[in-house]
């Protein structure tokens, strides 16, 4: 099996029937050789401020954590488990109520056991991001899902 073609994050997301990403309503957008982009449609179940309707920050972390994990999978060319070691997110500005949030993460370095990822989230204009993320992951070798 050719590892470079054996993992399709879009197919994985489309087949998903349960779990946190399905519950959030997030969906696959696109991927490249070392990156993956997901989208989180606006949903009033996910707001933290009834007065303004601004999305809570937590769902954006979930979106970026998943996009980061998928970026590692596409760079490795295979779906294997990995554990998030740490994740830092800077909230550059609030997401605008009513708009979908896009999250794109890139795995810029893979070692044998650790993957390093950076990413950005935006609500329509990639040049005006709402958040930036840096995260590292422990790769579980030999434990295919």
């Amino acid at each position: 099996m050719d590892p470079a073609s054996s993992f399709d994050p879009g197919d994985l997301l489309r087949r998903g029937r349960s779990g946190h990403i399905v519950a959030l309503g997030a969906d696959y957008v696109a991927h490249g050789e070392d990156w993956c982009e997901l989208v989180l449609p606006y949903d009033r179940r996910l707001i933290s401020d009834l007065a303004t309707g601004v999305l809570a920050s937590g769902p954006i972390v979930s979106l970026m954590d998943s996009a980061a994990g998928l970026a590692i999978c596409v760079k490795r060319g295979l779906l294997q488990t990995h554990a998030t070691l740490d994740l830092r997110i800077d909230y550059l500005r609030p997401a605008r109520p009513g708009l979908s949030v896009h999250g794109r993460c890139r795995c810029y370095r893979l070692t044998r056991r650790v993957g390093f990822v950076e990413g950005q989230a935006h609500d329509g204009d990639p040049a005006d991001p709402i958040a930036r993320v840096a995260a590292s992951f422990l790769l579980d070798n030999g434990q295919p899902l």
């Binding site: 519950a23 007065a51 303004t52 920050s57 979106l63 954590d65 740490d86 830092r88």
Partner: protein, 139 residues
């Protein structure tokens, strides 16, 4: 005290207030299938969501008056360390307000399952407080 059960996102995650000791609220996130990431493990984002809500609740609990003008929170950043796998069981979290000034709140928060001595994750979070931000002026 923040009304966590009234926030839609807290309800989405299944978070409720257990009790409040010495000013620091203890929150619980009951297990549900919608919190799962990898098979049998909680999603890192769901754990981060619980940590953030516990951090905000910890800052809010330091304010004596519910209409304190500082009772507006806007996250600046959060750094989450994942320490142990989150299993498919109930999870608890409690934040300690490191400092609540007039402009910035700084919180250390931990999440655990079987015992507070075995945290599954910890985070540092900074928030702008008492700021009339552009998206809240209609409040």
């Amino acid at each position: 005290m923040i009304k966590v059960q009234l926030l839609p996102y807290a309800e989405f995650l299944g978070i409720s207030l257990v009790h409040q000791d010495n000013g620091s609220p203890l929150l619980s996130m009951s297990y549900s299938e919608g919190l799962i990431g990898a098979p049998g493990r909680l999603h890192g984002g769901a754990i981060a969501g619980l940590l953030e809500i516990a951090a905000i609740a910890a800052i809010d609990a330091t304010l004596e008056e519910p209409d304190d003008p500082r009772a507006r929170f806007k996250p600046i950043n959060v750094t989450v360390d994942y320490i142990r796998p989150g299993r498919a069981v109930e999870t608890f979290a409690r934040g300690i307000a490191v400092r609540v000034g007039t402009r910035i709140g700084s919180v250390h928060v931990e999440a655990w399952q079987e015992s507070p001595d075995k945290p599954i994750a910890a985070a540092r979070m900074k928030l702008l407080i008492g700021q009339k931000s552009e998206h809240r002026e209609e409040d």
